[in-house]
Subunit: 401 residues, 2 copies
């Protein structure tokens, strides 16, 4: 019962509701492992805390002795988006797919035991599927059914083109489950539709339908959209400890509970305790520090967590300019017209993307310090010298070499 | 100019409007034949006057020296309708496809020179199309585009299921034109959408787009729906002369002009003359006789046309019972309980499908004659004897043997 309760923890959608209990009983009765599938799109191999939510659930099954199957969507990745409309889906060649898969598996190893996982490429069966059999498969699904997928429906209603092959991709994902005879397919809640396709196709192939387990989508550190690379709001599993700490500290307070539940490995009791402390007036900043350290401990180690906290406090919380860590920057004389630069021109070296106007405003607002002295004059001449220290905004520290 | 005018004659849709002129000029300039495609569904090999409308137009091109290509849809026929919902589309094996194609070609020979036509099977290229390439092809078309096809749109709006492979079939038909590099695709007006698909796919494969020529759909002899086997309202190209004559005589008067234009091979002048006669009060029955004879002359010969007219006049117009042609029917004594039967039981032998009540009503209405005598008593006992002549309704004559 304790096991079952833990497996249900955090799950957003379980289909059918009592499916997991039945599958577990069945596996025990038949003395076999459950096959638990997770699909992976090899066009985007960078994993973040959002992926970790699903992977940690997979890990639980692995610890219970069940079989994890990672399906690399190599067939569809190699077709890409032939319309060329979706730039993130350009076709990959086999080498690129393999390279991305290797990167991905390396990152997976931070959470699951990859040695015990089965890693398969769906091009192994889809490359050789005769077109006539593919059509037989495709015929099992109706247009109206596919149009129920929210994004398809929205685009159809708004007259945004949907290329026909896009409609077929969910069917192929479902066919992977037929091929692998999966018991469970996992994903984020945005994968519910595609996973359900697997159930239907398994049934039409006279196989027991898989159950679908969808985990909640962790929001990104900006607190708006789901965490995703394209939104530039992720904490990556391979981020260095200082970056992880800083990013976690930047989340809005409303995300604290979500991060506690989905991003940390605190026990239920610990989480309840922390929530209680917040209610009693604990500073949210302190809770975020605990969350940040917990996250770093999961993907690096305890020491890295402590060090990152110290760094953060020195860098962003203590006022002393000298204690900061400065990024060492070499400026070749080639970059310079003379030995001295205006404040604006100096800052522009580090903030290439900002306009001169934006930099001038930063300076006038007092956001720029040079050698521990606030410079509010945009056109003051600054002499360029080794060890000149420049602070721009709250977080960026540079030292010339 | 005369040639061009004749090619345009009866055409319902020409896409683009001046496409035919351009294609003809191009062919002349390049000193080559035009390739003119007609698709054929090998699940329904029985040709009728509706098909003849298109085929006679093909024949015109053939007479000008161009290349007719008949595409047997063997790939899709062998897939059929895997959902099993559409019973007319059950999958055929290769033998059945070949058999149907042979039947079809034999019927084609009544109109076109099949020896000079190219007859191809689309399974030749679709069977070996790798699924990945099929997806590339499919991706060229959007869902919204396919949903413009009237029947798809209607079914989608009315929540009648459309299986996904149905959406793909028009794309495959279009691909046939890519494969064959057709200059012209012909069909009935109900094929406009599918033929246009060929234009689009040829363009996306950097080929010159075919022009689309759609002929009007001849209505069936009941004057309502288009002529089609499923509506049981056809005049078949292989119907015997008497059947052709009888069916033509049965068309409603409003169809006369349509049949004159689409089913006969009268010249424009002859048709104008006949129309003038109708305006001046000619009996439509006489015009239908001329149409019937013309049709029989096309698919049988002049003599057969004259004989059929004589038969029709004797059988249905002259009153003399003795002059009728009676179907010779052998009734084995096994069928009979005794030497005599009630009128109902006797009629039931020939009209198995009618209920006793329906037969009784026919008798009471005076529609049954036995040996030139109207019998209005359903339960009168009729002695069964050789050469007993029975007339039921207007058209059915039987003689016992």
């Amino acid at each position: 019962m304790e096991t079952l309760k833990k497996l249900h923890e955090n799950v957003a959608i379980m289909l059918p509701e009592n499916g997991l209990e039945q599958k577990l009983q069945q596996a025990e009765k038949e003395n076999r492992k459950l096959k638990i599938k997770l699909g992976f799109d090899p066009t985007a191999p960078d994993l973040h805390l959002g992926h970790a939510v699903v992977l940690k659930k997979m890990k639980q099954f692995q610890e219970l002795g069940h079989q994890i199957i990672i399906v690399v969507g190599s067939f569809t990745a190699r077709i890409g988006d032939p319309t060329g409309k979706n730039k993130s889906r350009k076709p990959l060649n086999l080498e690129e797919v393999k390279h991305n898969a290797t990167t991905y598996i390396k990152q997976l190893s931070k959470i699951i035991e990859v040695d015990q996982a089965e890693i398969v490429f769906n091009s192994d069966w889809l490359d050789n599927l005769p077109f006539s059999e593919a059509l037989q498969l495709i015929s099992k699904v109706t247009v109206a059914q596919l149009m129920q997928r929210k994004d398809f429906n929205k685009r159809f209603t708004e007259n945004t083109p949907i290329a026909m092959h896009e409609l077929i991709y969910p069917i192929l994902q479902g066919f992977d489950s037929v091929q692998l005879e999966c018991d469970i397919e996992m994903g984020g809640t945005d994968q519910l539709f595609n996973c359900t396709m697997g159930r239907q196709l398994q049934e039409s192939h006279n196989l027991a339908p898989q159950i679908v387990m969808c985990m909640p989508l962790l929001r990104g550190i900006d607190g708006t959209e789901k965490m995703s690379k394209s939104q530039n709001n992720t904490i990556g599993l391979t981020d260095d400890p200082n970056t992880m700490f800083g990013k976690t500290m930047s989340i809005p307070d409303v995300l604290i509970e979500e991060f506690l539940n989905l991003a940390t490995d605190f026990s239920i009791e610990e989480r309840q305790q922390i929530n209680q402390q917040l209610i009693e007036g604990e500073n949210p900043m302190n809770v975020k520090k605990r969350i940040a350290k917990n996250i770093i401990k999961q993907f690096h180690d305890e020491q890295a967590a402590t060090d990152a906290e110290t760094f953060f406090i020195n860098q962003f919380q203590n006022k002393k300019f000298e204690d900061k860590s400065f990024k060492q920057v070499v400026i070749t004389t080639l970059n310079l017209q003379s030995n001295a630069l205006t404040t604006v021109a100096l800052c522009k070296i580090f903030k290439e993307n900002l306009s001169n106007t934006a930099i001038r405003r930063l300076i006038e607002d007092g956001a720029v310090q040079i050698n521990n002295e606030k410079i509010k004059e945009p056109y003051q001449m600054i002499e360029i010298a080794k060890n000149l220290k420049i602070k721009i905004g709250k977080r960026d520290f540079y030292e010339l070499q």
